[in-house]
Symmetry: C2
Subunit: 232 residues, 2 copies
DNA sequence: GTCACTAACTGACCGACAGTCATTTTTAAA
DNA sequence: TTTAAAAATGACTGTCGGTCAGTTAGTGAC
C-alpha cells in the first residue's frame, strides 16, 4: 500500500511549506522581528504545528540556511566538470560566489546570521546545521581541487599548499562578497558610497590582485589577455 | 562652583560602570542570553537605571562596540607615524588587525554581531554607531594613505587605484581575521582543524599572496628577504 | 538645622513572544 | 461504523525588554 509513502511525502511537503512561509516572513522583517505566530499564519497552520516539524525557531531558521547552502553548492559543483584551466576555474568559483550573493541577498544574509549563532550545542545537535557545514566543507574541497588542477596544468604557482591557499582564497572572497552584500542591503555602510567605487570593478581588481599573487607567468598571460577563457 | 562638573563626571563614570557590567555579562553568555536584569545586578543598579543611560539594550551593546572600535583605532593610527615603506605599513596594518582580533576576541565578536544589526533606523539615530562608522572610515583612510606612500616610495604597484585597493585589502583582511576568530571561539567551524593548518602560517601566506599581487619588484625584494623592515 | 526642589534611582508592572501540552480533529485500517 | 493512532490546535506559561509612578538622595536657600 502506498499510504505510508504518501504520508511521508505530505509530511515533507508540509515541512517545505513551513520553510517557505518562514522565508517570506524572516526575509522581510529579519529573524528577530519575525514571530512564530506570524510564520504559522502565513503557512496557514497553528503555531503548535510548527513545533511538530521544527524543534525551535532557530532550527527553522537553520533549515532556511540549509536551503541556501544547497542552492549555492549546486552551482559551485558544476564548475569543476567544465573543461578549463585551474586558474580559470578559480576565477569562476569566485564569480559564481559573487553572483550568488548578488542574486540571493536574503540567503546570504541568513548565512551571516547563521555564523553568529554562538551556541555550539544547539548547532551540534542540528541536522540542518550539519548539512550546512558539510556543504561548506565540500565547497572548500572543490576549491582545493581546482587549485591542484591549476598547479598541474601550470597556471597556478605550485609553491603554495593548495589546501591552505584554498582557505585563504575562500576567506578573501567572503570578505569581498560581504562588502558587496552590505552595500546592497543598505547596511549602514556608507563607506563604499562615499568613495565612488563600483562593485564589479572592485571584484575584478580583487581577482586580478590575488590572481597575480598566485598565477604563474603562463597563467598570468592567459588571464591578462581576457577576463575569461581563451582556449577551446 | 565645580558641582556641575563633578556631577557630569559622576554620570560619565556610572555610564562606564554600566558598560563594564554589560561587557562582563554579554561577553560571557552572548547578547541574546544576557538579560538587562542581570546586567543591572552586575552593575549594582536597578534595571530602570540602565534605561536612564541607554535608550535600549541595542544601544548599550553598541556602546561596547564603540569601545572596541576606539581601542582598535588607537592601535592602527600609531602605525602611520612610523618611518617605514608603504608596503611595510600595509603589512603592519594587517598584522595589527589580526593581533587585535587575537587579543580581543570578545570585541571582535561584538563587531560581527554589530554588522548583522539590520535595522538601519536604529543605527542611524545612534551616536555610538556613528562613532563606530567614523572609526571604520578613519581606518580606511589610513590604509589608503599607506598605499599612496607605497606608490610614491615605489614599493607598491601604482597601477591600482589606492582607494579601491584599500577597500579590497580591508575586505580580504576581514575575511582572514574572521576565519581566525571563528576558529578561536570554537564557532562550529571544524574546517580549519580538519585540515591541520596553523593560523600564523595562514596569515603569512595571505600577506605574501596579496603582497605579491600589489608589490613592485623593488617592494617584493625587500619584503621577501625579511618579514618586517630592513631599512633604518 | 530644616525646608524645598530637583535629579537620580527603583522595582512592580505591562505587553510581546517562544515554547508547551491537554484537547480536538482528521485519517485510515478493521 | 467503530476505533485507534496521527496530526493539528490554541489557550496557557514563563521570560524578558521596556515603562513609569513613586521613593530616595543631594543641593542650595534661609
Amino acid at each position: 500500500m502506498g499510504t505510508e509513502e504518501r504520508k511521508a511525502r505530505e509530511k515533507e511537503q508540509r515541512r517545505e511549506t513551513i520553510i517557505d512561509a518562514a522565508e517570506k516572513v524572516i526575509f522581510s522583517k529579519g529573524l528577530d522581528q519575525a514571530t512564530m505566530d506570524e510564520i504559522a499564519k502565513k503557512a496557514e497552520l497553528s503555531k503548535g504545528t510548527l513545533y511538530l516539524y521544527f524543534k525551535n525557531k532557530t532550527e527553522l531558521f537553520i533549515a532556511i540556511c540549509e536551503r541556501g547552502s544547497e542552492l549555492l553548492n549546486s552551482r559551485i559543483n558544476k564548475i569543476l566538470t567544465e573543461d578549463r584551466t585551474g586558474l580559470e576555474m578559480i576565477r569562476m568559483l569566485g564569480e559564481t560566489y559573487l553572483d550568488f550573493v548578488r542574486q540571493n541577498p536574503d540567503y546570504y544574509n541568513a548565512f551571516m546570521y547563521y555564523e553568529n549563532l554562538r551556541n555550539t550545542e544547539e548547532l551540534e545537535n542540528s541536522d540542518a546545521a550539519q548539512v550546512c557545514e558539510e556543504n561548506r566543507q565540500e565547497a572548500m574541497t572543490y576549491m582545493t581541487r581546482a587549485l591542484q588542477i591549476g598547479m598541474q596544468d601550470g597556471t597556478i604557482d605550485d609553491s603554495y599548499d593548495p589546501k591552505e591557499l584554498a582557505v585563504i582564497l575562500h576567506a578573501c572572497t567572503r570578505g569581498i562578497t560581504m562588502l558587496n552584500h552590505m552595500r546592497q542591503t543598505g547596511h549602514h555602510f556608507k563607506m563604499l558610497d562615499n568613495m565612488d567605487i563600483d562593485t564589479s570593478s572592485l571584484f575584478k581588481n580583487f581577482l586580478n590582485l590575488v590572481g597575480k599573487g598566485m598565477a604563474t607567468e603562463k597563467g598570468r598571460d592567459i588571464k591578462m589577455t581576457n577576463g575569461h577563457s581563451s582556449e577551446t
